[in-house]
Structures are given as C-alpha cells and as structure tokens.
C-alpha cells in the first residue's frame, strides 16, 4: 500500500538555530504541499485512503462520475491484519463484491482490486445516470423494464411514419461498461429483420449513451 504521508521530522540536536528553523520550515512547507496534493487528488475523484484504529484499519472511498458529473461515492472499510479483508461497506448488493475479492489478491495488489471495483461502480453509476436522464428528457419514450443493476433496458418508442410502437431492448451484459452489448427491436411481437434504417439505429444505440441516442433519433425523425 502506498504510504502517502511523510512524517514531520524535527531538526536534529546539535545543528545551530538558523539551520534548524529553516529545516523545520522547509519540512512544514513540504507537508502543506503534500496535504494540498492529497486534497487535489480527492477533488479530482481519486481514491481516498485513511488509516483507522491506529493503523489496524484502512478506509477507502471510491467516487463515481459520468459525463463530467460526480455521482455516488462508495466506501470500503478494510481490516489490515492478519490479511486484508473488508469489514464494512456501502456497495449495493448487486455489484459482485465477493467475486471481485476472490479474484484478486488484496494483500499484494490492492490497487488492481480497487481499479476493477471502481470500473464496476463507475459503469453502474453511468448506466443509472443514463436511465435517469432518459426518463427526464424523453417523456414520449416509455421505459417498460429496467432492473436494479441497470443491466437491461426495454423501452417503447413510436415510429412516426407508420405510427407503430417498437420495443427496443438494450442488454448491458458487460457490467464494466456504460454502453450496451446487444440491441434488438420488436414490433408486434416479431423481431425486426435487418433493414438499413434499423441497422443504423442499432449502431447508434450501441455506440452512444441512450439518452443522447434518443435525442439524435428524434432529430433525425426516426422516432416521435
């Protein structure tokens, strides 16, 4: 684990007054600089780590963000001895925390574990935010199904030309990503076969966040 704090050192005895003072001042300046650096790291969304219980515990905070907006911050409290293990957290139960713990070695490579966990959390926050924006910005689109993990989204859109309703299903089976892995369309209970228009829409939905994709589809006149 990185030790990010340096201890303040007092000047050694036997040095003369001036050099002691300037040494002390230099160290204090360095200490302030490091604190500022840590705070900057905190503001830009880096992991915060603080020692708790006299070095026996470590508390980490993992911020999440999407599209330049800070969202939820999640926390983990870890007991360091005898082997690192999580004693407390506020991570939702549909994030596979225990699987991630098993897959990584917290003792030697805590950073990898945190990075993977952060990926899952950020992706989840991102998908959740997209769903929220979709509901806010696109009142004409009806969300038929979603789930707590935001890994599936089924919505009903209306095609202006034929005035028909099309059911769009977005599968986000890669939980470390904010974009869907599969998109398919159903109209009147049948899967829509390949057609250049729907293929274009499919690529749009696969490559663009859903709320933005729907705005584009509206502008292009694909949906009402």
């Amino acid at each position: 684990m990185d030790k990010r704090r340096e201890d303040e050192e007092e000047g050694e005895e036997g040095m003369d007054e001036d050099s002691e003072d300037s040494e002390l001042l230099r160290l204090m300046a360095r200490h302030t600089q490091l604190n500022d650096l840590l705070y900057a790291h905190h503001i830009i969304g880096g992991y915060d780590a603080i020692e708790t219980r006299q070095g026996q515990g470590l508390c980490l905070s993992l911020p999440t963000a999407y599209d330049g907006v800070f969202l939820e911050t999640y926390n983990l409290e870890i007991d360091v001895k005898p082997t690192p293990r999580i004693v407390r957290h506020n991570i939702p139960p549909f994030i596979p925390l225990s699987d991630l713990v098993e897959q990584s070695d917290m003792q030697t490579d805590l950073r990898t574990f945190l990075d993977t966990l952060s990926q899952h959390l950020n992706a989840f926050s991102g998908r959740k935010q997209q769903l929220k924006l979709l509901k806010e910005l696109h009142k004409s689109v009806e969300v038929m199904e979603s789930n707590a993990l935001c890994s599936i989204l089924v919505m009903m859109v209306t095609v202006p030309k034929e005035k028909t309703d099309v059911l769009c299903t977005l599968d986000y089976s890669d939980h470390t990503r904010c974009l869907p892995t599969r998109v398919h369309f159903e109209c009147n209970g049948k899967l829509l076969a390949d057609s250049p228009d729907w293929d274009k829409i499919r690529s749009l939905l696969l490559e663009t966040p859903v709320h933005k994709a729907l705005s584009d589809m509206r502008t292009m006149g694909n949906i009402v």
């Binding site: 926390n75 004693v87 407390r88 199904e145």
Partner: protein, 345 residues
C-alpha cells in the same frame, strides 16, 4: 362472481381504511370515470361494498380482478404484519443475467409443480421490485385466497422478503425461489420487521452510512450552528467524537425503522458471587429483547449522548452492519454471532 370472490371483496373492503378506498380504487385503474363518480365514499362500508359488487357483476369481473385489487392495496400499504428477510446463497454463473420474463415463467412453473394447486400472481413495481402473491391450496381444496403469502424480490440481489408464510409452505417457496433465481440455496437472514421498506433499505444499504474520512466531516459542519459566541460547549470535542462514532456505527440522517432486536443467549453464567448458578453445567438460557418505535435511531442516540459507551459494542453495531436483528450468542466467540466474520455481501 362466485361466492368466494364475493367474500374476498367484502373482506378486502372491510380491511382497507375508509380514507384509502378512493386512492386504492384509483390505482387499481379498472373503474371507468362514470363508475368512479357513482361511488359514494362517505356511505357505510357494507353499502359501498354492495355498490362495488354490482359494478363487478356488470363488468363480469371475477376473483382474479379482486386479487388484483388486493395486490394493489398491499403494494401501496405493505406495512401490515411481519416481514421476514431471506438470503439466496451460492449463485450459479447465470444468476446475474436472470431477467424478468424468465424469472416469472420459471417461478410460476416450479411452484405449481411443487405445491399444486396454487394460484400465483406476479407484478413488477416501478422501483424494480417484483411482487408475488401466492394463494395456497392442497389436495382437498382450491387455493385459499383469504390467507395469501406475499413475496418481494429485486433481481440481481440476494434478498427476498416474505410475509404470511407458514412453516408448511416454506419449503415449497424456498425451492421455487432457488430454482427460478439460479441459486443453490436460501437461508433465513435473521431480520424481521413490520416495515418492508425499512428491512429492505437496511439490507440494500439504502441509508446514509458514515465512513471515516480525512476531509471535513459533514457531521461537524452541520453541528456548527452555534450562533452565540459567548456560549462555549464544555467537552465539545468528546461530544463530537461520540456523535461521529455513533453515526459510523448506525448511519446518518433517517435510519431504517426497525422495531426490535433479539439476543438469544446460550452462555455460561458468570458471576463469582453466585456459586449456584456459576457451577451449573448447562449454559444459562436467556432472551434479551430491545424494542422501540425506531430502534436504530434510539441506539444511535444512546451512543451519541453517552448512555451507551463508545466505540459502540459489536452487539449493537452488528444490527446494521450484518443487517440482522436476531442473534444467538454462544460461548465460543466474543462476537454476536457464532459465525466467523466474513466479507460482507
């Protein structure tokens, strides 16, 4: 409408408080505007029921529609009776991709096979909760709609909340849930309460938890509202520490409303002044129950005001930490549960 449906409706209208009748019927959404206009919500319930029965007869509605109305009422007003939490264990590889339609089909089919005859109704609520209503029958009788079991589950989470389930029905429900959610087992989560939302929020961690942080604590900031600089709080620092520890143990802001916590002790009696009790071979069996209208709020206040010592004892902090309010304490461990501590999930 047959007799049982009629009786069900009568029971249901009797059960729904008068002030909620209008909104419940509204949410049910089956009455036309004209029919709604014709209902007089001020008349006595028996008269109201008769009018509603007439409307049902006119529309050719059956027991199915009445159970739908009941479900609407229960979903909006779930805080009746006791809810018990269960936890699904050992997910299969495809547990994380179980989706709604699949779950519905599988649950209905498994339960029907296990507990024939049974009447199952599944409804997905706006907040991703799946509500299941089960009316159980047996080889001699049709499903009894007067004593249904209600089950709530969120897909991709391991928790299931159940009310009104008998011990005879439990194995069938457990098996159907395990199979349809692609897990290998289900166990009692040792958490119960009258408010569904509270036990759900506790397990899904939907309340404001507090973690140690090196940056200014929002708690300290919030409490810095001392307007008069002439007033100095003695021991302000220790009060702040107590508050911080209390909030770290229980959480900040509104806490999920639990009504009780039960500790079943099976420990040897320890009191050197009482030889008779200490010399006994068997453990001293005793049950300690804490009860309150808002237990977690009370415990947090005990800790922050100094009535309970801080750091908060694991016996109390385990309630939110482990998400349970029933503990069996034996001699082999200092912790509140005889299980070894594991990573939480």
């Amino acid at each position: 409408m047959d007799d049982s449906a009629r009786r069900l409706l009568q029971r249901l209208i009797r059960r729904i408080p008068a002030q909620m009748l209008k909104t419940t019927l509204e949410k049910w959404g089956r009455l036309t505007a004209a029919q709604k206009q014709s209902m007089d919500f001020t008349e006595p319930k028996w008269a109201f029921t008769e009018r509603l029965l007439d409307i049902c007869e006119d529309n050719g509605w059956t027991g199915k529609h009445i159970t739908e109305l009941e479900m609407t009422y229960v979903i909006e007003n779930p805080n009746q009776g006791m809810w018990y939490a269960f936890q699904l264990m050992d997910p299969e590889d495809d547990a994380r991709s179980v989706e709604l339609t699949h779950f519905k089909e599988q649950f209905k089919s498994h339960l029907s096979e296990l507990a024939r005859p049974v009447s199952v109704k599944i409804k997905k609520h706006a907040d991703d909760a799946i509500w299941i209503r089960i009316a159980w029958g047996d080889s001699f009788s049709r499903p009894n709609h007067l004593k249904p079991t209600y089950v709530v589950h969120h897909l991709q989470t391991p928790y299931v909340f159940v009310t009104s389930l008998t011990s005879k029905q439990k194995p069938f429900l457990s098996q159907a849930l395990v199979l349809s959610t692609r897990h290998q087992a289900i166990k009692d989560a040792s958490l119960s309460g009258r408010k569904l939302g509270a036990i759900r929020d506790l397990l899904m961690r939907q309340y404001q938890q507090v973690f140690p942080t090196s940056y200014p604590s929002p708690l300290a900031e919030r409490n810095g509202t001392v307007s008069n600089p002439q007033i100095e709080k003695e021991q302000a620092k220790s009060a702040e520490n107590r508050l911080q520890m209390a909030c770290e143990a229980f959480g900040d802001g509104m806490l999920p409303q639990l009504q009780s916590s039960v500790y079943k002790l099976e420990t040897k009696f320890k009191d050197h002044t009482n030889k008779t009790m200490t010399e006994r071979e068997e453990p001293f069996r005793c049950v300690v129950k804490f009860a309150s209208t808002n237990l977690l709020e009370s415990l947090r206040h005990c800790a922050s005001s100094g009535i309970a010592s801080t750091p908060v004892t694991p016996l109390l902090s385990s309630i939110p930490l482990k998400g349970r309010n029933y503990f069996v304490i034996k001699d082999n461990g200092p912790g509140p549960s005889s299980q070894t501590r594991q990573t939480q999930n």
